[in-house]
Symmetry: C2
Subunit: 163 residues, 2 copies
DNA sequence: TCACTATGGTTTCCCATGAAACGATAGCGG
DNA sequence: CCGCTATCGTTTCATGGGAAACCATAGTGA
């Protein structure tokens, strides 16, 4: 029950288009991860990202504002806000007043939040290992580097176009 | 006017998470492409994909149903339908009855559609070249192959989880 | 021929996401 | 101290995209 196309299509221009390959690969990976997180922790990807970053921050004894979360996750500030609200309602994140700036709060994981963090990170890392199991170390490194270059390139071209 | 974070965050677990890197790289590339297509042709990515596939089909003297378009683009059938409707309304695609199956139609590019196709493909290829300009041939090949493996891997893991 | 099921396509509904508008506070220049 | 502007966070609105329901036709078995 693999693929049952009526008649296999010959390799077309779309198939060989690298941005397309990148997009479908990324979608496949994201779907897998989203499914796993959702199934086991009822977390969506934005929420998980916030937990990951807050977990890091906690390890360094820091608390973060939504603004720094936005910078750290590269997500929209609205997405960050929504994720934080959900996590707060679930009791995984607490807000503390920021006496230097009345507009923002410092966010950190609660005890329960840290417990989730410690369950969730291994799942993330295991999934990463599953996905890249047949990549040797050099290939992983290569992949990372290629992704980073592409990303820089795209950002660069976009800002040139945006005038 | 590059990045003005209050205080640079140390490399965290999120930064080093490969699926995250994949996702943001893919997003950056997709945004760039979407922006360019939209600006110059008022086409969205799904519409462009349909044009690319229909252009291929036309080159082989074939016409496709929405079903085969769905298979060829890996998009949802609803997305394909919507894209086709838009293209039809713009006069870029025409439907011909399928006498073997009254439920579906054969779709093909109109003359105007082919004209767009021939303008749009060079833009796509140029963008691809822009993006991968500093990849040598071996790196491109490597990148393709890594993406394909990851994609297969993800699909494979997903179907195992789906029981 | 007559159900019954399967499938291509379409419509409807819902959720996720980002842009823009908004309120509140901060920061600055007078 | 008083305005003016910038910024953080929140809310509101518009759009995109997928899931499920739906319709019409095809295919199948009695």
């Amino acid at each position: 029950m693999g693929d049952n196309l009526d008649h296999a299509l010959p390799e077309g221009q779309l198939e060989s288009f690298l941005p397309y390959q990148l997009s479908i690969a990324s979608n496949a990976v994201s779907s897998l991860i989203a499914e796993r997180y959702h199934k086991r922790f009822a977390l969506k990807i934005p929420e998980w990202r916030v937990i990951a970053v807050l977990g890091d921050a906690h390890a360094r004894g820091a608390a973060l504002t939504q603004r720094s979360l936005t910078a750290a996750t590269l997500m929209d500030k609205v997405a960050v806000n929504r994720a934080c609200k959900v996590l707060e309602n679930r009791g995984l994140v607490a807000r503390a007043p920021n006496k230097d700036d009345g507009r923002s709060h410092f966010l950190q994981l609660t005890g329960e939040g840290r417990a989730i963090h410690e369950e969730v990170m291994p799942l993330a890392l295991a999934t990463e290992r599953d996905l890249f199991a047949d990549f040797d170390a050099a290939e992983q490194q290569q992949f990372r580097s290629l992704l980073k270059r592409i990303r820089g390139r795209a950002a660069n071209l976009a800002e040139k176009t945006n005038d």
